[in-house]
Amino acid sequence: MFTLYFTKKTIEYCHKMKRAVITGMGIYSCLGKNLEEVRQSLYLGKSGIGIDPERTAYGYRSPLTGIVERPALKGLLDRRSRICLAEEGEYAYMATAEALRNAGIDADYLERNEVGVLYGNDSSARAVIEAHTRTLETKDTTLLGSGAIFQSMNSTVTMNLSTIFKLKGINMTISAACASGSHAIGLGLMFIRQGCQDMIICGGAQEVNYLAMGNFDAISAFSTRTEDPTRASRPFDRDRDGLVPSGGAATVILEEYEHAVKRGAPILAEVIGYGFSSNGANISQPSDLGSYIAMERALKDAALTPADIDYVNAHATSTQQGDAFEADALNQLFGECRTPVSSTKSMTGHECWMAGSSEIVYSNLMMLNDFIAPNINFENPDEHSKNLNIIPVTTEKRIKTYLSNSFGFGGTNSALVVRNIEK
């Protein structure tokens, strides 16, 4: 097994760096349109999965998807802001507005201070395809209007959030497939530790429409258990048959600890570890070694051992291969400790570019409310998951520290360790 070597000097240096805390959160997903709705859904083990008839008509193998209603933004945003926002940007706006509100950050603060944005996003397919279709019809690109370009670029979310909220700090999109949202928070942690920024809006966004997921459906990655959509996403279960795509957006306000204390901000959690790796192997196939390295690196970054982790929010998407590799890696690290594990994707489906951020919000909601959300639909383990302590029903538990995994195509891996500094 590949081993990371952190010298005592390295660890001492890390611990002299600044600390990054989460002082605000926002969520817009198939589990709810705000933190309270989502907290309730998580506690109740409620699925957000349904059927999209447009996908069947378009030629999808599977019409299953997370059901997310687009927000009505007229009255909230001016015309220029609205027409430049792609669907995933609309979700990101809603999540970020909620996060800023509960972090106590208003327009005046943003005007007078340097706040950054690091957000995960890896497609804006609807905007691109609709512009292409319109041009084919009209043979005139001028008829696309002024919003199309700003909706179509991969950095659409950060370019719009930075404009709407008048942000003046670091401003970029992180594209790392299904680990995008997690890396965005990890990189935010690094910027704050280094003293480069006092506050960064971090998160991830994912469009939910039939134009965005057809090429993913093409590789038979999706569950076809259409007879009962809420039971289709079943991470770690023996009878899983693929993932269910989903989306929305999640935001956390990452803030330097002393800055947050001085501001009197609510401190919800502290991000204490970030681990990453690349499998250097197959483009679609995950790796137990790659995920192990990311997790081990995150733990060492946090100066913790597996026994210190009270809960693992697994990446597990409900695919045969991916869940098996992660289960093996989790078993190597956490098997002896019997650490509770659940995949919230059992309820949300796979929120892809957003997942690494939304699962931090979901886990924080659990940590702040003393429960572990269930890995619903886990009925029978397979040979890989049988050794894990998978939580199939809502369980009351005080969580002091948790680890959250995110892995993506191309072998990109990210793990974050977060703790509750109040407990």
């Binding site: 015309r79 220029r80 027409i83 005139d140 001028t142 008829l143 696309l144 209007g145 002024s146």
Partner: protein, 80 residues
Amino acid sequence: MNRTEIIEIINNFLVEELEIEEDKLKDSALLKEDLKIDSLDFVDIAVIVESHFKVKIKPEDMKGVKTLVQFYDYIESKIQ
């Protein structure tokens, strides 16, 4: 289409689609300074004009168009 109809259509889309306050729509209003129409808005105006009047206009052709009344004149000339 007569001038009154042209003005009505233009004023309607300036209010409905560009969300400009109706009481600002005076003949002498400066498009940029008073109505806050910027270069990106002119791109959208070209799209709207095409859909309402079935004529193509280019944002760069509108450089000499400074006021609302000049805009009415420009669209009227294009239609004719």
